[in-house]
Amino acid sequence: MELKRIVLKKEMKFLGLLLTSLLIASASAAVYYSLTMQPRVTVSAPLIKFSQAPDNPTGSTVYDAWVRLNATSYPNATLTYEKALYINNTDGSSAHSFRLKHVSITPANGTSDVGNWTSIKFLVYNSSGYVFSLNYTVTSNAWYLEPGVETNYYSIPASTGWWIRLETLSPATATTGKVCDIQISVDVQQ
């Protein structure tokens, strides 16, 4: 009985050491593996890229992967840039999905300056018509963005161009010269 107890104790001790050994060995190997990873970053042209459209706001800057649109809004009148910007899928063989995602906006929520706008809408169209939109609307000095719009991806077919229609509207009481900066990212699934 005593001998059995001793043997069992030794087995348990060995098992414990074996388990901790496995843990230490695999953790060390993982750390070493993380040291050996050799990332390579190759510069390439974007598959989904922007290009100038006929109604591009004056003073805008358009690069393949970065755009600044200098739009205007009028008090009590909707200003529409029918084709403000093209979004092209330059991949000739396969479709790619993308979405418009809000990053930041100024003036910040709660400040009285927000009241200088009623809505700023980014509507995406293709040759068949409306696809989706990212609409900023103002309610009680706060920006409101429709929930769910940012989470959906939309597939743009190979070698196809879609466009963004930009609509702006300010209230009759808006102050001239006030500026709103919106930053939107275009997430592309390669």
Partner: protein
């Protein structure tokens, strides 16, 4: 491009040797102090910490320094293997076990170490005193050879002593 061994590989090898020692001393626990397997586990754990630190300060340390502190850790692990071998042979006077240990643990670990260190020396583009490294490995191999000879024929040492007394 052939994949080169990073200097931290020697630390990884040292960790594995300490873990091997821990498990073997646990299996032969009647012949060793009870705490010894845990001491080796702690040494392996220190090696793991060593790897983590090396990863965090990789750029700061440089390849030369990284090689030497990793190689030093491996040497400590090898010294422990040889020490356990000598302990079995001299303190415990278990010649058969000492011979088995030398053949199955000490000698293979030295061969593996020599293989990887020489491989690193040939493939690494960095400059380090390779001569010192080679000399230390040659000395280690000679010591290992003499030890093996003594283990295989324990009487040879007594004969050598008697010859010295006669002269």
């Amino acid at each position: 491009m052939p994949s080169e061994i990073l200097p931290e590989f020697f630390a990884l090898l040292g960790i594995d040797l300490f873990l091997l020692l821990s498990l073997l001393t646990c299996l032969l626990d009647e012949r060793f102090p009870k705490a010894l397997p845990y001491v080796f586990q702690a040494a392996a754990l220190m090696g793991f910490g060593h790897l983590l630190i090396s990863r965090e300060f990789m750029v700061l340390f440089g390849e030369y320094m990284r090689f030497w502190y990793s190689f030093f850790y491996l040497i400590v692990a090898l010294i422990n293997i040889v020490t356990v071998n000598i302990y079995i042979a001299t303190a415990k006077r278990m010649w058969l076990l000492a011979k088995a240990w030398a053949g199955t643990v000490t000698f293979p670990t030295f061969v593996v170490t020599v293989f990887f260190v020489s491989n690193y020396g040939f493939t690494a583009s960095i400059e380090f005193p390779l001569l010192l490294l080679q000399v230390s490995l040659v000395v280690s191999t000679i010591v290992l050879g003499v030890s093996t000879l003594i283990f295989l024929s324990p009487d040879i040492l007594n004969k050598f002593r008697r010859n010295k007394e006669v002269n």
